[in-house]
Symmetry: C2
Subunit: 203 residues, 2 copies
């Protein structure tokens, strides 16, 4: 049996690579393609108040467009001193969508007077699958950590260079991909989803 | 008896004018001066997690410097869709302290996909007085409203041009000063403080 073909509802190549890597490591028998590989990523206004709502908006649009099962994630940084924001607005916090460096710089500027003991944060991910018949699965996971005052490391994307996970001294931009996936919000959420969908027995 | 001399712990001339106007309207017998009129505003890192903490930090520093009773306020915009932020970071939300236009523009950009029914917000103010002997009084008040998509009006300062108070159709930047003071967070907090301090019987 050839692997099931699944579309990841994103135009972000980094995310496709990362999710493919996570799923391969679980032994899931799926062939992951990006939305840009099968007709493009439709414009979806991410108006949801939660990560899960936004992920479902994206996956539904892509499943409908392609008639293929569509995976999506919505994820972001939840900063304690910002009452959980940027949250669902993580990718457009500076008002410039997808501007990782500007978004990171803005969070650091907003926290410039926030002392070390109040710099806690979490990366949060909702991973979802929407089937062409409308069936939906949702898993939400997070990883706690703390925010630095200057970016460090060149791996990853988004806020990775300023986030140090609990139990680590390196930022998620300094971890090698396998180490990052093992503890990351996205790794945890997609592994949980793969188990729920019967793609793997690993947890 | 000549009016008691009281320093408002701010370098912001708009705030001095507004608080003086509010207190005059209550009939309070105090002579309000700005920190810049009596030795300058000391540098105070506003590291508090609440408006009251930050207001107390500023008033304590000025009372200590001058040996005069020091009033202070800390106030800001609490946006529902931003989990209550900018909050204590209202004056430096864009990372540029005191940059009203940039801060307002950033909030509007962050809310660009937020539908009208989720654009609720409140202006919140903590007004405090610190006596030279260390005695402290604190009053916190707010006004609920909603946020527009474009600034309107030229009065006021800060986020006034995008905030429409409940029961109003005009922004707080479109209200005349007396109408603004009657319902504003700052008007409510300073009137409550004036009553607590016995400066006036009005409420």
């Amino acid at each position: 049996m050839s692997p099931e073909r699944v579309v990841l509802a994103t135009g972000n190549r980094h995310k496709v690579d990362e999710v493919a890597r996570i799923l391969v490591a679980t032994g899931a028998r799926v062939e992951l393609v990006g939305a840009d590989d099968v007709g493009g990523m439709p414009g979806v206004a991410e108006t949801g108040a939660t990560f899960a709502e936004n992920a479902l908006l994206k996956a539904r649009a892509v499943a409908e467009l392609n008639g293929l099962p569509a995976l999506a994630d919505d994820s972001g940084l939840s900063v304690d001193a910002l009452n959980g924001m940027p949250g669902v607005l993580s990718a457009r916090w500076s008002g410039l969508p997808g501007a990782d460096a500007e978004n990171t710089k803005l969070v650091l500027a907003q926290l410039v007077d926030t002392p070390d003991e109040r710099r806690g944060a979490a990366f949060v991910c909702a991973a979802v699958l929407v089937q062409p018949d409308g069936t939906e699965a949702v898993q939400r996971r997070e990883v706690r950590g703390r925010l630095l005052r200057e970016p460090r490391g060149s791996g990853g994307f988004g806020y990775d260079p300023i986030f140090v996970p609990e139990g680590e001294e390196r930022t998620t931009a300094e971890l090698d991909p396998a180490a990052k996936d093992a503890l990351s919000h996205r790794g945890r959420a997609f592994r949980a989803l793969a188990v729920e969908l019967g793609w793997t027995d690993e947890t």
